[in-house]
Amino acid sequence: MTMEKIQLFIQIIVSGLALGSIYALIALGFVVIYKATDVFNFAQGELMMVGAYLCFTFSTQLQLPFLYSFLLTLVFSAILSIIIEVLIIRPMVGEPMFSAVMVTLGLSFILQGIVGLIWGYDEHKLRNPFPDQPVSIGGVAISYEHLWTFVTTAILMTIFFLFFKHSKMGMGMRATAEDTDTAFLMGIDVKRIFTLSWVIAAVIASVGGIFLASVSYVKPIMSFVGLRAFPAIILGGMDSIPGAILGGLIIGVTENLTGGYLDHLLGGGVKEITAFVVVILIMMIRPYGLFGTEQIERV
């Protein structure tokens, strides 16, 4: 192997990790909602897209400084998620899995359509403060967006890991997920926990959306990335936060590797379905994922 090939390989791995961080952020939001409310949120990718579009409006259309637009985006997506939770999700709590899944799927359509109605279907460039020139570490170029994505993902992961492990609210969330009725009887404000989990998920998704838009464009097809994050969620285990992160990174790297090395063999576009092939394989071998808990059911 020549030096160049090794560099190319590392380059592929690094950008795979960056892509994987986005998946990880989406997966993280999904896991938070799932852990607290037992709802499978299909609209996580759309929450991410809405975040990106909000930031685009503030930063590019209204010309606000990036940091302010970033913060405003988080506030607005938090408000949006509260509205969603109260109007759509709360009536579905306790309903069978099918209804809860389909409601979030319907929600994802609503969000997609609203974005289409407001912003249209064109691609937009998100104005961001990251320098265009990538940093070079040992001959491997890493863009600032990627670097920031890593850092933010790492920070968010640590925060939420500690939050669930040690904070009272986090423990309340875990208790609610374990058994909603008992948690309620123990004096945990279940409603607030449900809302909070949606707020957290939406905020995390928006962060992911802003970073994803920084490396590419703000476009409606972004929400598709949310669907591609499902393999990451399954791989990591649906109720595990470290699993979500690791699953995201693995899927991101795998996608990039197959895209880099198998694309010309299989005729292009392999990258887009790698994740789905992987997920079917996981289902056959270890459906509850790397870190997930295997569910034991009783009649």
Binding site: P91, F98, M102, G106, L107, L117, G267, E272, M283
Partner: protein, 348 residues
């Protein structure tokens, strides 16, 4: 004590298809109406009804898998695609007759269903949702990329259906093929639900562990359900190909899969009538929306320009509202209205 029409004294009576003589009469009227319909309606109306007929067959399929057996599938369009492409390729390249390719399309789709069923056997609930979704995207991808077989995004032209020298080249003529197949599909589905297999499906849906305990073979019946459902989808796909005369990958996207799930949600899960109502509703909906957005062209021009977005919002809203407000769907609403009038002036 007077014995009313609601009073059933045996299971056989309860399971009867024609619960009362009046249903026979109204069904006969309906069939006659359907036979006369193409001679009085215009081309556009026939086109819409043809689409609905195909949708009904497809919806029957997903209803068996999702409505009766409880295995949520987000990959129904993939099975339709497999059926459509099988039929299109066999009739345009090999030159086989539609009457051979249609059952073959069903068969190939059923085979695909068998393959998807295998990883699904250990799984349930959300995992099946993801598996079928993954299958959908993989099939879409293969159709786009396997140029040699599917011609990729250029699509395939499909020759019209013939019997001897008679050519089914207009919507009006094709209508009768669809009508015949739809009736066949409905009858088979209705009868299936009255058999041991149908009851096993429902048992699996309601509580799979209990079903296994009372002796329902989960593997066997889940696979059966997948196979029957995909056979339906394959036939619907084949009809779709020959009806349109042209198919491309854009006809069988993830969106279409969701549309089929929406059909049975809107119509009412796990009922035959529900699948019919839902298929009709979801086929007529875009047309209704088009009329509406044209009417509002003056005040909201954005609705016409971004029609696809409007359609997406409305689909989402319909799914959400039906699930929250009326989970039993249109057939549930219809049943409640009937019960109300039967018992009137009493509440029950």
């Amino acid at each position: 004590m007077t014995v009313t029409r609601h009073c059933k004294t045996s299971y056989r009576e309860d399971m009867k298809i024609f619960q009362s003589p009046s249903i026979k009469v109204s069904l006969t009227v309906l069939i006659i109406g359907l036979l006369v319909f193409p001679f009085v309606a215009n081309d556009y109306l026939i086109y819409i009804i043809n689409l609905s007929g195909i949708a009904i067959i497809g919806a029957m399929g997903i209803n068996i898998l999702t409505g009766y057996t409880g295995q949520v599938s987000l990959g129904h369009a993939a099975f339709l695609a497999i059926g459509a492409y099988t039929s299109a390729i066999l009739s345009s390249r090999v030159g086989l007759s539609f009457w051979i390719t249609m059952p073959l399309a069903g068969g190939v789709a059923a085979l695909a269903g068998l393959i998807v069923a295998i990883p699904s056997l250990r799984l349930k609930g959300f995992y099946i949702v993801i598996t079928t979704m993954a299958f959908q995207f993989i099939v879409e991808h293969v159709i786009y990329r396997w140029d040699g077989l599917t011609l990729g995004d250029k699509g395939i032209g499909v020759p019209p259906v013939t019997i001897g020298t008679f050519v089914f080249d207009s919507g009006e003529r094709f209508y009768f093929i669809i009508l015949f197949m739809a009736i066949l599909a409905i009858l088979y589905a209705k009868n299936l639900t009255r058999t041991k297999t149908g009851r096993a499906f429902v048992a699996i849906r309601d509580r799979d562990i209990s079903a296994e305990v009372i002796g329902v073979n989960l593997t066997q019946y889940k696979v059966t359900s997948f196979v029957i459902s995909s056979f339906y989808a394959g036939v619907a796909g084949s009809l779709c190909a020959h009806h349109a005369g042209f198919i491309g990958p854009e006809h069988f996207t993830f969106f279409v899969s969701i549309e089929y799930v929406a059909m049975i949600i809107v119509g009412g899960m796990g009922t035959i009538l529900g699948a019919i109502y839902g298929a009709l509703f979801m086929t007529l909906l875009p047309e209704g929306l088009r009329v509406l957005s044209d009417a509002l062209r003056g005040t909201f021009p954005v609705l016409v320009v971004r029609f696809a977005a409007l359609q997406t919002v409305v689909y989402g809203l319909i799914i959400v509202l039906f699930l929250i407000i009326e989970p039993e769907g249109l057939s549930g609403i219809w049943r409640k209205i009937k019960v109300y009038w039967k018992n009137w002036p009493y509440t029950y």
